[in-house]
């Protein structure tokens, strides 16, 4: 890997970069519409591709939270046109590594010793990049370890980075600043949380312990004595990145096994823990040679509030005999409907949401579900495409908790679709009883 030597220096410079991209995106639009005047049938794919590529080029020169936002955008395939997300998923592994002396310095600053004093072996070459840090291989007392080191200044620059990404996000999503403020706050809070490795250690340990009884899942053991806010030491888990596993064309049994583990992991968290690992990106999972799924990143964990959980899953699993008024009541609770809406609007949104929930809830409602069925995922995408074109849906709606709950579920669906797994979805289900 090439050592980093051209990371933007100042906020001003970063603003300039983003500004430059803004112009380029603008230019792409102009190009698109001028071509469209000549050829009215030209579709948006070219435009989206040109935009995605310029945005990606810019973001790859940034690090930290901007990269994270890129990652977030790449998750919501249903919301963003395909071209955006394909380009963005590249951003994951594009950050150049830190220099050797900075690694030593970070250790000395945060743990008071050099990595060589702490571990028996420590590989100065990063094994791979994480979005806001990099991972090194180490060992201690015969145990292989993964040591994640955060880039300096990441936590500090999140808010200012987000401010710069904002106008961009509005343009991409076509929403106004005030409408999105509450959602961006949610994202900002989560991103800041993600830079605290002490927090990640706690979350990883907690969820790992809680999921202990689930089959075919592996969680790393964490080492608090070699960790702190900027350095996280955990057991090194062997395995193939999930993306590579999928590309290796495993047989159907293996696909189903991995898919089942993934589904159980998420439905257990949603229904029993009310706490979810909210970053189901293929980069966060490994598959070992026995087909066990390892989860290696607990930076982003979302707590699902009880009232949100209840209303949301009541919509997904409506009890028999549920009438429209009850469905709407839950929609009001979830801020999908607003008391200020006129009857026509309520009618329109109710039918839109019912269609959406019908699509979204399919895997939850059947005992077994085949995610390989192309109809399901294209149904979701085309609904997403359709939704972005409806002017009424341009306004921001829904509780802020949707951001991470949706991101998790759509991310999960995406992976399961790529796995083409057939999964038994009934093991854990909506209930209003005590949580674990």
């Amino acid at each position: 890997m090439k050592e980093q030597n051209s990371m933007s220096v100042s906020k001003v410079e970063r603003s300039m970069k983003l500004l430059g991209t803004g112009f380029k995106v603008g230019a792409n639009y102009i190009k698109h519409y001028s071509q469209k005047m000549v050829n009215p049938h030209k579709d948006r794919t070219d435009l989206d591709e040109a935009n995605a590529s310029d945005i990606y080029d810019t973001l790859s020169h940034l690090k930290g939270s901007a990269l994270k936002v890129a990652q977030m955008l790449s998750m919501d395939k249903g919301i963003l046109p395909g071209a955006y997300s394909d380009k963005f998923s590249l951003s994951l592994n594009s950050a150049p590594p830190l220099s050797g002396p900075l690694i030593i310095k970070t250790f000395q600053r945060h743990l008071g010793k050099s990595p060589f004093e702490i571990f028996d072996t420590f590989d100065m070459q990063a094994a791979h990049a994480a979005s806001i840090g990099q991972v090194h291989r180490a060992s201690k007392d015969g145990v292989l370890l993964a040591v994640k080191i955060q880039y300096p200044g990441v936590a500090d620059s999140i808010s200012s980075d987000l401010k710069m990404v904002k106008p961009f996000a509005f343009r991409l999503l076509g929403m106004s600043e005030s409408e999105l403020a509450v959602y961006l706050k949610e994202v900002e809070d989560k991103l800041i949380e993600e830079t605290d490795y002490v927090n990640e250690l706690k979350q990883g340990t907690f969820i790992g312990d809680a999921c202990n009884g689930l089959e075919s899942l592996r969680f790393p053991k964490y080492f608090p004595e070699y960790s702190n806010g900027r350095i996280l030491t955990m057991e090194w888990l062997d395995g193939q990145p999930l993306r590579d596993f999928i590309l290796s064309e495993p047989n159907q049994d293996l696909r189903n096994k991995v898919g089942q583990a993934l589904w159980d992991f998420y439905s257990f968290q949603q229904h029993e823990l009310k706490l979810i690992h909210a970053d189901p990106h293929p980069g966060n999972f490994l598959v070992d040679h026995n087909g066990n799924l390892a989860i290696v990143d607990f930076g982003c964990v979302k707590e699902i509030p009880a009232d949100f959980y209840h209303a949301f899953f009541s919509l997904v699993y409506p009890p028999e005999g549920t009438g429209l008024p009850e469905m709407q009541e839950w929609m009001f609770q979830l801020e999908m409907l607003n008391k200020k809406d006129d009857p026509a609007k309520i009618k329109f949104f109710t039918s839109m949401y019912l269609e959406m929930i019908g699509l979204f809830g399919k895997p939850y409602l059947n005992e077994t579900f085949d995610f390989g069925d192309p109809g399901f995922i294209t149904g979701l995408y085309s609904f997403g495409e359709k939704a972005t074109k409806i002017p009424e849906l341009r306004e921001a709606r829904g509780s802020r908790h949707f951001i991470y709950v949706n991101r998790t579920n759509f991310g999960l669906y995406n992976i399961l679709h790529e796995l083409k797994a057939e999964v038994n979805t009934g093991k854990f289900s909506f209930h209003t009883g005590e949580i674990v």
Partner: protein, 217 residues
């Protein structure tokens, strides 16, 4: 015996700076405070500035000793050696931030001139250190020898030194993480410029065009 008085003066001076936040008004007052005779002071230091030079020099030498004793040092590239120097230097400065800030702030304008009095000795030592590493870099091919410019590399590195010191003085980020970033990025760029770069090709091309000016048009 000699050195112990020197040390005593140095310690007392540091203590004075830290407690009072400025230089003693006169050598006389300082000596009285310390309980020594003025001639005794002048036997070791001609001015207060000379003491400050020693303070900074001690810190510089500590840094050099520390990095050169690292197991990794011999294996480092020249780039990494400079990075390691600056990281360690700043880390050490940080441990006594108030002491160094007092001195820097007393001679605020000096830092803009690139050779503050208190850094006179450090500058000489750092230039030797830089030249040594530049030579090493040239022999390994990491740094490109450029006639007439190679000798100025040390100046560029000194500018970097002063820039980082300034940056650190004004850094208000938690744990001075911004300074770490400034070192990481700044040193990389400086070393990039010193290694073979597109600039060389541009200069070469310029020379060629200049010599063959008549042919192109």
């Amino acid at each position: 015996m000699e050195t112990s008085v020197r040390h005593k003066i140095l310690d007392a001076y540091i203590d004075h700076l830290l407690m009072k936040g400025n230089q003693p008004t006169t050598v006389y007052a300082f000596c009285k405070e310390l309980g020594i005779e003025e001639p005794e002071f002048y036997a070791h230091y001609a001015t207060f500035a000379a003491i400050e030079q020693d303070v900074w020099m001690m810190h510089y030498e500590q840094t050099i000793n520390k990095i050169k004793s690292l197991d990794l040092w011999p294996g480092y590239s020249v780039r990494e050696k400079f990075l390691s120097f600056f990281f360690t230097y700043m880390e050490e400065l940080q441990k006594k931030r108030s002491l160094y800030l007092v001195q820097i702030k007393q001679h605020r304008a000096d830092l803009k001139l690139f050779t503050p009095v208190y850094l006179k000795k450090v500058k000489e030592a750092f230039e030797l250190f830089s030249n040594e590493l530049v030579k090493e870099g040239i022999s390994t091919g990491e740094i490109k020898e450029r006639t007439g410019i190679t000798a100025r590399y040390k100046d560029a590195l000194w500018v970097q030194f002063i820039f980082l010191l300034n940056f650190w003085v004004n850094d208000d980020s938690p744990g001075f993480e911004r300074t770490d970033e400034a070192i990481e990025k700044g040193v990389q760029v400086t070393l990039d410029l010193m290694s073979h770069s597109p600039l060389d090709n541009i200069v070469e091309y310029g020379k060629f065009i200049f010599k063959n000016a008549g042919k192109a048009f």
